[in-house]
């Protein structure tokens, strides 16, 4: 048996965390309690439940960005009109996470802190230039998501620090935004490869701006900035599509595991990207 701390305010949560440095921060618990299952009873660390911390809940609009509380569950994100307006890509991704009950429990902050290569919310957050706001008794700071996530299960979160909000800059929408997840079945499956893409074309139908990100094909989300730059000005035709496929095939670095082989992931990563680019023309 271990204690469960249930602070109602952020300062209280930070104080409790300072007093219990071994405490595990718990939001939706969908990942944490599964991992804890294997633990030998009697040695479990204290749990710090963040579900009732008011500052970590909900979605607010500020002048320059949309702020999503770290302990906001995905079902709330999916239902929120502000997220639909400013970050439809995140809505698309959130809809593919777990089943309905999991989406009522699992939170955006939890998905980020778990830092799984397969985290479904991550590719959209990279494309949306999300910043991760952190708080500790010493103060606040914010990091770009790419700087926050360091590797599988590793983040820049320091001892005594909590993720408080995810900040999404309000930027003009892209006419084409698409998230695609592939798994071994249609629902309730951990991603084998995921893809997020945003693009706009110029008046001549050439690519004006394109951003792409892949999940589950590297230790963290994979971006191919050189390809994105190279594609600016390219017409949407077969040669471009082929170029994209080749570049992705070479650019991603997946591993083989129980869910799929590296080779398959590479193929699908390329196919999802070419499908996205091809569809820009249609």
């Amino acid at each position: 048996m271990s204690a469960v701390l249930t602070p109602a305010r952020l300062d209280e949560a930070l104080r409790l965390l300072a007093e219990n440095p071994a405490a595990l921060a718990m939001a939706g618990a969908t990942d944490l309690l599964v991992r804890r299952r294997g633990a030998i009873p009697g040695h479990e660390p204290v749990l710090l439940s963040l579900a009732h911390v008011a500052e970590l809940q909900g979605i607010t609009e500020e002048a320059a960005f949309l702020a999503i509380g770290a302990a906001t569950p995905f079902s709330r994100i999916i239902a929120d009109p502000l997220v639909h307006r400013y970050a439809p890509l995140l809505v698309q991704a959130a809809q593919t996470i777990g089943g309905p009950a999991i989406r009522n429990m699992a939170t955006l902050g939890g998905n980020i802190c778990t830092a799984s290569p397969a985290g479904d919310s991550l590719p959209p957050l990279y494309l949306l230039d999300a910043r991760i706001e952190l708080a500790s008794p010493a103060g606040e700071r914010a990091l770009p998501i790419a700087a926050f996530i360091l590797g599988p299960g590793r983040t820049a979160l320091e001892q005594g620090e909590l993720v408080t909000r995810i900040l999404l800059p309000k930027a003009p929408r892209f006419p084409r935004e698409r998230f695609i997840k592939t798994g071994r079945r249609k629902a309730l499956a951990i991603s084998v490869t995921s893809f997020a893409g945003r693009a706009r074309l110029d008046q001549d139908g050439r690519i004006a701006e394109i951003r792409m990100a892949w999940g589950s094909v590297g230790p963290t989300v994979v971006r191919l900035p050189a390809l994105e730059t190279e594609l600016v000005g390219a017409p949407v035709h077969a040669a471009t599509v082929e170029r994209v496929g080749l570049a992705v095939h070479q650019g991603v670095a997946p591993i083989s595991d129980l869910r799929a082989s590296a080779g398959y992931r590479r193929l699908v990563a390329a196919n999802l990207a070419t499908q996205f680019v091809e569809a820009l023309g249609g």
């Binding site: 469960v4 309690l33 599964v34 749990l47 309905p100 009950a101 009522n104 429990m105 309730l188």
Partner: protein, 159 residues
């Protein structure tokens, strides 16, 4: 710790280890064994309950998280119009075989049907996609939820 919550419309106070899994609290401590455990890792949905009207997996919740919450389990279903309608539809449409997934399915169905209009089959399948059934192939479960949705919708129209 003392955990106070509302359980199936009645106040409940229980002295329990704060990190006790809610599924164990319900089944073993309160003998509400209608809530089932099929996997313990949030993959099967057999332990689905409603917390403040939303589906939750009671195998991935600890007792302390219930404090102050409003909890509905399958034992509280029949007391509500929607719950009784869903149960009747499951029985009459032949949606029940071994029955071990059924309480969780019904909770998921209740949450889905509370969202409003009578949903179509695709929407029902999405709504039940977190609940595994190994006996039925889902066809008759979808039939049951579809019918419950229609019955509830018709009931609302009449009022």
């Amino acid at each position: 710790m003392k955990v106070r919550f509302e359980l199936n419309e009645a106040p409940m106070e229980i002295d329990v280890a704060p990190d006790r899994r809610v599924v164990d609290l319900l089944r073993e401590d309160l003998r509400l064994t209608g809530t089932k455990e099929g996997c313990g890792t949030g993959e099967c949905g057999a332990c689905t309950i409603l917390v403040n009207g939303q589906t939750r997996l009671s195998c991935l919740m600890v007792a302390a998280q219930l404090d102050g919450a409003r909890v509905t389990t399958v034992e509280g279903l029949a007391a509500t119009t929607a719950g009784a309608t869903i149960q009747r539809a499951f029985v009459e449409e032949g949606a029940v075989q071994c029955g071990f997934c059924i309480p969780g399915m019904e909770m998921a169905a209740l949450a889905l049907l509370r969202q409003g209009d009578a949903p179509g089959r695709e929407c029902i399948r999405e709504g039940l996609s977190g609940n595994l059934c190994r006996c039925t192939g889902y066809t008759k479960i979808v039939d049951a939820v579809e019918r419950a949705g229609r019955d509830l919708h018709a009931g609302r129209e009449e009022q």
